[in-house]
């Protein structure tokens, strides 16, 4: 099958723009990045199917139909993207209500562990700390 260069360019630009936005910290931009990325990938799938008339029996002769299978896949993807969009919007709104912006924060617990690693310290907590206190009945005097 011969690749359609228009599709190739559109895929490249949509994916590039999508990824650039995806790497941002603002959730709204991340969301738009996902929408662009999804469109890019959809076009990429579309490019894999034959070009032709609408795949409806009776409207188009069998041999001239566009390939319906990628279309069904894309249709599914489009609607799922809608669900994800709604979810991310809710996340962005929630984040904005809680902290006053919609930026993705670093995970506090992960940062704590990174700090510990930089200090060459152990995780602390229950089994590690204070060897000597509260040792009744476990070691000799």
């Amino acid at each position: 099958m011969s690749p359609n260069l228009t599709y190739v360019v559109v895929v490249g630009v949509l994916v590039a723009a999508g990824v650039t936005l995806l790497l941002e910290r603002s959730l709204t931009r991340v969301l738009m990045g996902i929408v662009l990325l999804a469109n890019g990938v959809n076009v990429s799938i579309l490019a894999g199917g034959r070009f032709g008339g609408a795949p409806i029996v009776g409207t188009t002769p069998d041999g001239e139909m566009s390939d319906p299978l990628p279309q069904a896949m894309i249709l599914t993807a489009i609607v799922i993207t809608l669900g994800i969009t709604a979810f991310l919007l809710a996340l962005a709104y929630r984040s904005w209500r809680l902290v006053g912006n919609d930026e993705v924060q670093d995970d506090v617990e992960d940062r704590r562990i990174v700090t510990l690693a930089e200090q060459d310290a152990g995780p602390g907590g229950d089994e590690e700390s204070d060897e000597d206190s509260d040792d009744e009945g476990t070691t000799g005097p």
Partner: protein
């Protein structure tokens, strides 16, 4: 035998309930299970004392060679008696040990009985894998028993320590078992023993097995976990750490030794580690002030003794080992139980604080004295009989190695005598200048258990001759070296007797001198354990810190870099590049494509949210036009509707968010992002180019037009694919939509009152739902828009239903129909606010979503009940009076489900992102 294991299991399960009903008296009932094992063991005496065996076999996991092969031979018979007898007596003792109403007593009883059952299973297992299963069960139950008081840190820590050490050993042992079993072709030990294993793997296998046995029996260098495990309640120590669990390792050595005792590295390893343990443990016991710890170190020492004696590998040493095994279990559990009574009655276990107990609790002192005499090796107690036999076994040995062993055993026994005296005098003697501690007189029936065990120690010594008869079949499985020895209290004046006297005198002298204070053990396994554990913790922190940076962009960056490097590398290096590319199919494509490109690039650069949103929308509509040009009307329809819905949603949320993006000043990171984005874009484009160009196979869908009509009953192939050919995909997809809708709702509605609003019920109730048809909405909405909306609403909904039903043969279908209906609701909401939405759709979005999923799933399931495959559709042509011939395909019901899910999703979004956000208003900054 399996019946007994099951009885233990059932009793364990019932124990918590029994304790709740009967209080601590329930422990009497629980003790029936171990006593049953004891009774059964005694009943089998006649079958094993001639060297016979009792066997049972049940099939279990054939593919693993794992069967329930149970086999009772002499040594396991001995262990069954100990496990059952001591277990039952300790349970009876526990009734008095724990105060009435003690927390966790039900758990204690259950776990204790379960442990006894696992221990019973362990000693009667003939299949090595089965033995391993029971072995690890005892480890787990002992963990639970040591941590009986989970609120104390020391409990938790020592339980964890015991668990880690013994599990590590257990894993090594499993490796050894697998090596043994796979090279022998069977996991039944009785069969392996008939054809003794050999070969290069044997040394490795034996080392691994011994690693397990030694760690379980607290042999150097694993000794440290046993003293730490004294955090357990004393009855637990008396059972697990004197009679049962620590004996599991010794038992394994005793069982396997008859067959593999001559192979390397069995004997040297056991002798070395056993003797070192005996000396270190005895030495440490001399330095303890806590009676329980003194006993614990004494146990470590005795376990070393046992392991060394069994490791001797001759018939005489095996006989001595078996006798010592019995003697040790009897006296050591007695002494633990005595310490428990002292502890509870006086509130202390410190031998520096206890004084005059011999006067004040004479019966207890006598019981302790009997057991201690056995421990020290005084005639005619069991301990004496066993020790004499051990002396004799090595005295009559041949090599110098035996003499070295004998010397060390004698020194170890001297230490034993010394710490026994330290124990007795520390616990019971009058100490001048020490104030008497308060004493609650222990109840008489509390003493029954320890007294029986102590007297049994005396009885065994007196009955040495019959014991010898019973145990000889076991020791005869070992190679005989020198003349056969027989257990007896009196052998006449002989070398062992002289040695015994010498040991007693030296022990007394050592006790008088006392251990030099401040002397420490040269090596403590606990330190190594701590180093390893903190090393593991450090490694975990470093690894987590290095990989889990907590920053979303950096995670995504790593993923995308891998994509670029991996796929990019393949694309450059390994694939042929197609050369038959065409620029476009129709000349409109590049025009639309250029529009998409411009919109996308501008969207990236936009600083305002609304601008970016509109540009993204434009590129989306552009993609929809591409779909039209490609010959995909369904896609185009859906894409147009989805883009519209997306824009509506975004407007709802973005009106609340700040107008501009908060800009980050760091330029370098922005350049990096763009570079990575471009790289991924190039790879994706190249991938599309290569993949499309490389496509050679005939499309799967070539046969679809015919199948769609004949099987799917529809002409719109895309729709038939969705609701029939690949209906499972669609099913998954609508499930995702339901989940997403639920997620949105739970992110926005957080309280139960808010959830009522999701159902469309206005809260508070003093804002009445707008009454009547065509009445204007409250607030600043446009009346004209609202009226017009109401007028066209029904038409739009009707159109959506038309799309739904016509979708099987023309562009449309459940998705498109649902989106249209959803947009109709959105217009109502935008025009009139939440009240209008409630008036238009007075149902909970959750109900709509659920109903949709139910209808879709139900269609599939009905097909199954009708005898077809799940989600298979049928074509029905019926004649209805008014409508005429109706061509009905059952998959339409599936599509109705899809329609409902989509409507529910959008209704949910409007209620969440629209109405609820409106209500919450602008928060205080």
């Amino acid at each position: 035998m399996l019946v007994l294991v099951v009885v233990h299991g059932l009793t364990a399960v019932a124990a918590p309930v029994l304790v709740r009903w009967l209080g601590r008296q329930a422990l009497y009932l629980c003790s029936l299970a171990p006593f049953a094992a004891l009774g059964w063991g005694l009943a089998q005496t006649g079958r094993v004392d001639q060297g016979g065996a009792v066997t049972e076999t049940y099939r279990w996991v054939d593919r693993l060679g794992l069967q329930i092969d149970l086999r009772l031979v002499t040594i396991s018979w001995l262990m069954v008696l100990l496990v059952g007898g001591v277990g039952g007596l300790v349970l009876v003792y526990s009734v008095r040990y724990f105060p009435a109403g003690q927390d966790g007593l039900g758990r204690y009883a259950g776990v204790f009985v379960a442990f006894a059952g696992a221990m019973f299973g362990l000693v009667v297992s003939d299949n090595l894998l089965l033995l391993y299963v029971f072995w690890e069960l005892t480890t787990v139950f002992s963990y639970l028993l040591i941590a009986q008081d989970p609120t104390r840190r020391s409990s938790r820590r020592s339980a964890m320590q015991a668990l880690l050490v013994t599990t590590l050993g257990g894993l090594a042992m499993l490796g050894g078992f697998v090596l043994l079993g796979e090279s022998a072709g069977t996991y039944r030990w009785s069969q392996i023993a008939e054809q003794p294993p050999s070969g290069p793997h044997l040394a490795a296998a034996l080392t691994l097995v011994l690693l397990g046995a030694l760690s379980k029996s607290a042999i150097f260098p694993f000794s440290f976990w046993l003293p730490a495990a004294m955090a357990a309640p004393t009855p637990v120590s008396a059972y697990l750490h004197a009679a049962a669990m620590v004996k599991a390792g010794v038992f394994l050595v005793a069982l396997l030794g008859a067959t593999v005792g001559g192979d390397q590295p069995w004997r040297p390893l056991l002798l070395t580690t056993g003797l070192i343990t005996m000396l270190l443990g005895g030495w440490a016991a001399l330095r303890q002030h806590d009676l329980k710890l003194l006993l614990a170190y004494g146990t470590v020492s005795q376990l070393g003794f046992l392991v060394a004696v069994f490791g001797g590998g001759t018939a005489n040493s095996a006989l001595a080992g078996a006798a010592l095994l019995l003697a040790h279990a009897l006296f050591k559990s007695t002494l633990f139980l005595v310490v428990g009574i002292i502890d509870v009655s006086t509130g202390t276990r410190d031998l520096r604080e206890l004084t005059g107990l011999a006067r004040r609790t004479p019966v207890l002192a006598v019981v302790a004295g009997l057991a201690a005499a056995s421990m020290a090796g005084l005639p005619p107690f069991a301990g004496f009989v066993g020790k004499e036999a051990a002396f004799a076994a090595f005295l009559h040995g041949t090599g110098t190695a035996d003499l070295v062993v004998l010397t060390v055993i004698a020194i170890g026994s001297t230490l034993t005598v010394a710490y026994t005296l330290r124990f007795l005098s520390g616990a019971f003697a009058d100490k001048p200048g020490v104030p008497e501690v308060a004493l609650r007189e222990p109840a008489t029936d509390w003493l029954v258990g320890p007294a029986i065990l102590a007297v049994a120690g005396l009885g065994v010594g007196a009955a040495a001759a019959p014991l010898d008869t019973v145990l000889t079949p076991y020791s005869d499985t070992f190679p005989a070296v020198g003349s056969a020895y027989h257990l007896a209290v009196w052998h006449g004046f002989s070398g062992p007797l002289g040695l015994s006297v010498l040991v007693l005198l030296a022990g007394y002298a050592l006790y008088r001198v006392g251990a030099p204070s401040g002397a420490r053990l040269p090596f403590d396994g606990a330190a190594a354990y701590r180093r390893v554990m903190s090393g593991v913790d450090r490694l975990a922190v470093e690894l987590t810190g290095a990989t889990q940076r907590g920053s979303l962009p950096s995670y995504l960056g790593v993923i995308l870099l891998v994509l670029v490097a991996g796929l990019g590398g393949i694309l450059i290096g390994a694939v042929p590049w197609p050369e038959n590319a065409r620029a476009w199919d129709t000349s409109l494509q590049p025009v639309v494509g250029a529009g998409i490109v411009v919109a996308a690039v501008t969207a990236v650069r936009a600083l305002r949210r609304l601008t970016a949103m509109i540009l993204v929308g434009v590129s989306g509509y552009g993609v929809a036009v591409l779909f039209v040009l490609h010959g995909a009307p369904d896609l185009a329809l859906t894409q147009f509707l989805v883009e519209t819905a997306t824009i509506a949603m975004m407007v709802l949320v973005l009106r609340r968010l700040p107008e501009k993006f908060s800009e980050r000043p760091i330029r370098t990171s922005r350049v990096g992002r763009i570079a990575l984005g471009v790289a991924v874009g190039v790879v994706a484009a190249a991938m599309t180019y290569v993949a499309v160009g490389g496509r050679e196979a005939v499309p799967l869908s070539d046969a679809f037009p015919g199948e769609a009509v004949s099987f799917g009953g529809g002409k719109n192939i895309v729709n038939v694919i969705l609701v029939d050919i690949r209906a499972w995909d669609t099913m998954g997809e609508i499930s995702v939509l339901v989940v997403a809708a639920t997620g949105v709702a739970s992110l926005i509605f957080r309280r139960s009152a808010a959830l009522a609003r999701r159902r469309g019920v206005p809260v508070p109730a003093d804002q009445p739902v707008t009454p009547g048809w065509l009445s204007a909405g409250a607030g600043g909405q446009s009346v004209i828009l609202e009226v017009v909306t109401r007028l066209v609403f029904h038409t739009i909904v009707l159109f959506s239903i038309f799309l739904l039903f016509s979708g099987h043969n023309a562009p449309g279908g459940g998705f498109a129909g649902g989106l249209v209906a959803g947009l109709a609701l959105a217009i109502r909401y935008l025009a009139g606010g939440p009240d209008e939405l409630t008036a238009a759709a007075p149902v909970d979005a959750g109900w709509v979503l659920g109903a949709g999923l139910f209808v879709s799933v139900g269609t599939g399931v009905l097909a199954m009940f009708a005898g077809a495959q799940v989600l298979q559709s049928a074509v029905v042509d019926v004649h209805l009076p008014v409508l005429g011939e109706v061509h009905l395909v059952t998959s339409i019901f599936f599509d109705i489900g899809v329609y409902l899910v989509v409507v529910g999703l959008i209704l949910d979004i409007l209620r969440s992102l629209g109405a609820e956000i409106d209500r919450q208003g602008v928060p205080a900054p």
